[in-house]
Each structure stands twice: as structure tokens, then as C-alpha cells.
């Protein structure tokens, strides 16, 4: 356990040692703020629903960009060899990296709370929906990141990792928007697999265990695949 935190701490610091963290946070806030402010007075409602929509869309690109280097960079530098001969298990390694990236993204997302302050000064936003929305975002991001870290394990090329994770994330993002073509059981199944469907439930402020189980399962699944892919190196 101690090693997971040591690794996470080192990873988190490394975001700030290089320009990565500053670039990610600044760009994210700029784009989301710009998009949010241009639509705010058009819709003329005091809620953050449009903001959450924008953030979910931006994250489609941001999370792959952030997660692509997590393992592939170690492979490129060769440091993976040292890391994997340390007395830690492979899952501890993945979890340490995951936690560091997760923390950075959560902080970035929570920085958009300034917009809540703006809204609250103009009208009366629904507090429950806001909390639900942020919780939903944090859960969605966890899934995106675990997909990102999995694809980063597959290659030592960051660009490949970026593209593959973007595609997988995009599929889970778009899947509930195409269900009109698939009526009945398949439609329901696709809907259930979609990250956005569960987000909308959580964002209403109604937190159902089904939604939580979905997010937990997805995160676990992709982190598990990441560990498996890391371990497969031993047998190549």
C-alpha cells in the first residue's frame, strides 16, 4: 500500500515538473469556460447542464492526451524494466499511476466550480443536480482514464495509445446516441453500456446503485486488462 502511494505521489509531482499539468489545466479551463459563457445567455437558465455536456465532450480528447504517456513513456525510456523489478505487484503499479492521473483530472474538473459561483450569483441553480453532475463527471472520468491507461500498456508509441484510447472512449460515449437504430433488447443493452446514459441518471441527483456498479465494473475491467497486458510482456 505504501508503495502505491509513493508511486502515485511521484507521478503526480512529475505532472508539475514538466509543463503537462499546467497545459492541461489551462487549456481545459479556457475551452470549457469559453464554450460555457457563449451559450449561457442564449439558454438563459441557471444550471450547469450545458457545462457538464461541454466537459464530457472535451474530456474525450483530454483524457487520452493525459493518459497516453502513463505506461508507453516508461516503455520508451526503458524505465519499465526497473519499475517492474521493484518489489511491487503489477496491479499496484497500475493503480499508483491511475490514482495520480485521476487526482489531477478531479482537481481540474473541480476548478470549474467557479462557474457555479457565477450561476449562483445570477439565479438559483439546483444544488443537488450540481453535486450529482460533478459526481457523475468524476465517475465518467475514472472510466475514461482506465481505458486510457489500458491502451497505454499496449504500445510504446504515445500517438498510437492516444488514438486507440480515443476510439474506445468515443464508442462508449456515442453508443446511447445510436440506440434508435437498435430497438428492443439490443437497444437496452447498448444503452446500459454507455457512459453517458449512467451519467444522465447520476446528474439528475438520483444516485442509483446500478449506475455506481456500472462505473465500478468498467473501471475495474479496464484496469484489469491493463494489468494483464503488462504481465503478458513476461511471456513474449
Amino acid at each position: 500500500m505504501h508503495q502505491i502511494l509513493t508511486l502515485a505521489k511521484k507521478e503526480f509531482r512529475s505532472y508539475f515538473d514538466s509543463p503537462v499539468a499546467y497545459v492541461v489545466i489551462t487549456l481545459f479551463l479556457l475551452i470549457s469556460g469559453w464554450q460555457f459563457s457563449t451559450t449561457l445567455f442564449l439558454s438563459n437558465t441557471a444550471d450547469l447542464r450545458t457545462l457538464f455536456g461541454i466537459i464530457r465532450f472535451i474530456l474525450l480528447f483530454f483524457i487520452p492526451a493525459l493518459s497516453m504517456r502513463l505506461i508507453s513513456e516508461e516503455k520508451r525510456l526503458g524505465t519499465i524494466e526497473l519499475l517492474m523489478t521493484l518489489p511491487i505487484k503489477d496491479w499496484q503499479l497500475i493503480l499508483g499511476k491511475f490514482l495520480a492521473a485521476y487526482l489531477l483530472v478531479i482537481i481540474t474538473i473541480l476548478l470549474t466550480l467557479v462557474h457555479y459561483v457565477t450561476i449562483a450569483s445570477l439565479g438559483e441553480p439546483d444544488f443537488g443536480a450540481t453535486v450529482g453532475g460533478y459526481l457523475g463527471l468524476i465517475l465518467v472520468v475514472g472510466v475514461y482514464l482506465s481505458i486510457g491507461i489500458f491502451t497505454s500498456c499496449l504500445t510504446h508509441n504515445q500517438i498510437v495509445a492516444f488514438i486507440v484510447s480515443f476510439v474506445i472512449i468515443f464508442i462508449f460515449f456515442i453508443i446511447d446516441k445510436v440506440i434508435i437504430f437498435f430497438p428492443g433488447f439490443i437497444g437496452n443493452l447498448l444503452e446500459f453500456l454507455s457512459t453517458d446514459y449512467h451519467f444522465n441518471n447520476v446528474a439528475r441527483g438520483v444516485i442509483d446503485t446500478r449506475n455506481l456498479i456500472y462505473y465500478a465494473t468498467m473501471m475495474f475491467l479496464f484496469l484489469f486488462l491493463a494489468v494483464q497486458s503488462l504481465e503478458s510482456r513476461k511471456w513474449k
Binding site: T79, T85, L86, P87
Partner: protein, 312 residues
């Protein structure tokens, strides 16, 4: 301490290590010697639990690499080939990080870290980013992270690559010193390095061990004929035949005159016979002057080349 039994490793269809077995006792410095691509690094990667063997077993202190790998990893300090490091971290943070990861304890021992930085000659660059360091310093940082948790076993894969001659000698002395209390495995394709530091040499070629012993043992067992070269002045006309009649001289490899009355001759003598005395006496009898005589011994280098050349 380290026991390797029938170790075999395939990379896809390529055989990298072929049925290798050996034991390493505690407190020895063992050199893995072999040309590039011989399987040294692969063997070491299996011992450090980075790769799994295709078949065979490896145990370290009776812990198996497959089932008790964490126990083994705790005991090992490892410097991989080309010393991979994080360029954006600074030296002291990196060493602290590696110590914490290896020991799994909260208290970074400042004294030990300073000690290791001093041993590896990193005192002047502690605050610098690793990416800014020269190759030699990076190699030392790699060595420092392998030593920082005071491991029982030290595994160094090509530790002196990219260092200047003075640094090489420093590192070699350091390895020798560490070898007094630790078990050290040193991979190298540089002979003098292994000769200077190791008390046991395993020569590896194409995935197999082709020789195993102390540098002296290897020299004796592979020593073939003694080679002698002489320069003799005066009365050189029938010297060749006379030399051939001496006991133990097998053949004359080369005989060429230097100037009008000096002859340079290379001889081969039978193993275990030293004909130098009789050559001297012959010259006295023949009223010739012995200008120069030297005996050449088979060096470890010859053995190495003989064993690892692919066309033989």
C-alpha cells in the same frame, strides 16, 4: 544463493537462452561474458523477475521466481542495460523514490542516501535534473539506485558503457569493493573488465554456457601450445633445423631474417614444456647471440574469441 536449472527462454520462435544451469554462491562476483546478443541480458532479466522463463527454474535463497518473486525482488539491486532513468526528475528525489519503492517504508533514510550519493560520486549534482547529466553521471545514478536499499545481490548489466577510462576504473574498483560483502552479477562484453573484477567467469555464447571457472582456471584449461618468439644474431644458417631438434619444440611457425645476420623465429612448443632454457643453451653452443626471447600465454581474450566465434 542463486540457482538456475535448465533455464530456456524463447522470444517467439527465437531461442535466446538454451538450457542453461548454474549456481552462484553468496559473496562471489560473477561475470557473464559474451558477445552482444548472447543471452546475458535475458538471463539476468529472468533472475530479476522481469521476464518469465519458457522452461526451467530459478531460485534465489530457495524462493522461486514464479511464486515468491516479491521476496526475491527485495533482495536485488538491479541496473538494467543503458541505465534507464526519468529525465525530468532530479537526482536526489529519484534516489529517495527508488529507496522508498524498494524498502516500502515511510522513512527515507537521509544518511544512507547521502552515503550512496558519495560512494557513486554524485555529491556535486544532487540537485540537477537527470536529463541534464552526462552519460557517465547517468550511469552512476543508475548504480546509486541499485545500491540505495543495501541489497544482498547486485546485478549490473553493462555498467561501464559510455564512461571514460578514469570512470571505468573507479566503477570497477567500486564493484570489487562491493563484492566483498555482496553477491554481484556483472554482464559485460569487455574482457578486461571481467578479468579485473570477477572471481568467477561464465562465458555465454548463443544462449549456452561455453565455459565456467575462475579467470585463472579458464586460462589453464584452455591453454594449448606455448608460443615462443626469439631473435638470434650470428651463425643463423642452420639454426632452424637445430631448434627443431630440441626437446618439446613442435614446429616453427615463422622464420624471417631481419637484416643480414639476425633471424626472427616464432616457435610452438608442446604444452607443459618450457624450452626457453634449451634455446638459450643452443645459442651458446652455436656461438650465436640471443637478442630477444619471449613466451606468449593464451590470454582470456583468446579463449573468449575461440569460444564465441560463430564460424568455428
Amino acid at each position: 544463493m542463486i540457482s538456475v536449472q535448465n533455464l530456456t527462454k524463447y522470444y517467439g520462435p527465437t531461442l535466446a537462452v538454451d538450457n542453461v544451469s548454474f549456481e552462484i554462491e553468496k559473496g562471489t562476483v560473477v561475470g557473464f561474458l559474451g558477445p552482444n546478443g548472447a543471452g546475458k541480458s535475458t538471463t539476468v532479466r529472468i533472475i530479476t523477475c522481469y521476464l518469465s522463463p519458457s522452461s526451467g527454474s530459478v531460485t534465489v535463497d530457495n524462493n522461486d521466481i514464479m511464486t515468491e518473486s516479491l521476496e526475491i525482488r527485495k533482495k536485488i539491486g538491479y541496473l538494467p542495460e543503458s541505465a534507464p532513468l526519468y529525465p525530468e526528475m532530479n537526482v536526489v528525489d529519484y534516489i529517495k523514490f527508488m529507496r522508498e519503492m524498494r524498502r516500502g517504508s515511510t522513512s527515507p533514510n537521509g544518511k544512507r542516501i547521502k552515503e550512496v550519493l558519495d560512494i557513486c560520486g554524485l555529491g556535486g549534482v544532487v540537485g540537477k535534473r537527470i536529463g541534464e547529466l552526462s552519460k557517465g553521471y547517468r550511469q552512476r545514478v543508475g548504480l546509486a539506485q541499485a545500491l540505495v536499499h543495501d541489497p544482498e545481490i547486485l546485478i549490473l548489466d553493462e555498467p561501464t558503457v559510455g564512461l571514460d577510462p578514469n570512470q571505468i576504473i573507479e566503477i570497477r574498483n567500486l564493484i570489487k569493493e562491493l563484492g566483498r560483502e555482496k553477491t554481484v552479477i556483472l554482464c559485460s562484453h569487455i574482457l578486461p573488465e571481467v578479468e579485473a573484477t570477477c572471481n568467477r567467469v561464465l562465458i555465454i555464447s548463443e544462449g549456452s554456457i561455453v565455459a565456467d571457472g575462475t579467470p585463472d582456471e579458464l586460462q589453464t584449461s584452455f591453454e594449448g601450445k606455448t608460443k615462443i618468439s626469439v631473435q638470434i644474431k650470428g651463425n643463423i644458417d642452420t639454426l632452424d633445423e637445430k631448434l627443431l631438434r630440441l626437446e618439446g619444440i613442435e614446429r616453427i611457425v615463422n622464420s624471417k631474417p631481419l637484416g643480414s645476420d639476425i633471424l626472427e623465429i616464432d616457435l610452438e612448443a608442446v604444452k607443459d614444456i618450457d624450452p626457453r632454457e634449451s634455446i638459450f643453451n643452443l645459442c651458446v653452443e652455436n656461438k650465436s647471440i640471443l637478442m630477444e626471447m619471449k613466451r606468449e600465454q593464451t590470454s582470456l581474450e583468446d579463449i573468449f574469441r575461440k569460444l564465441t566465434r560463430k564460424d568455428m
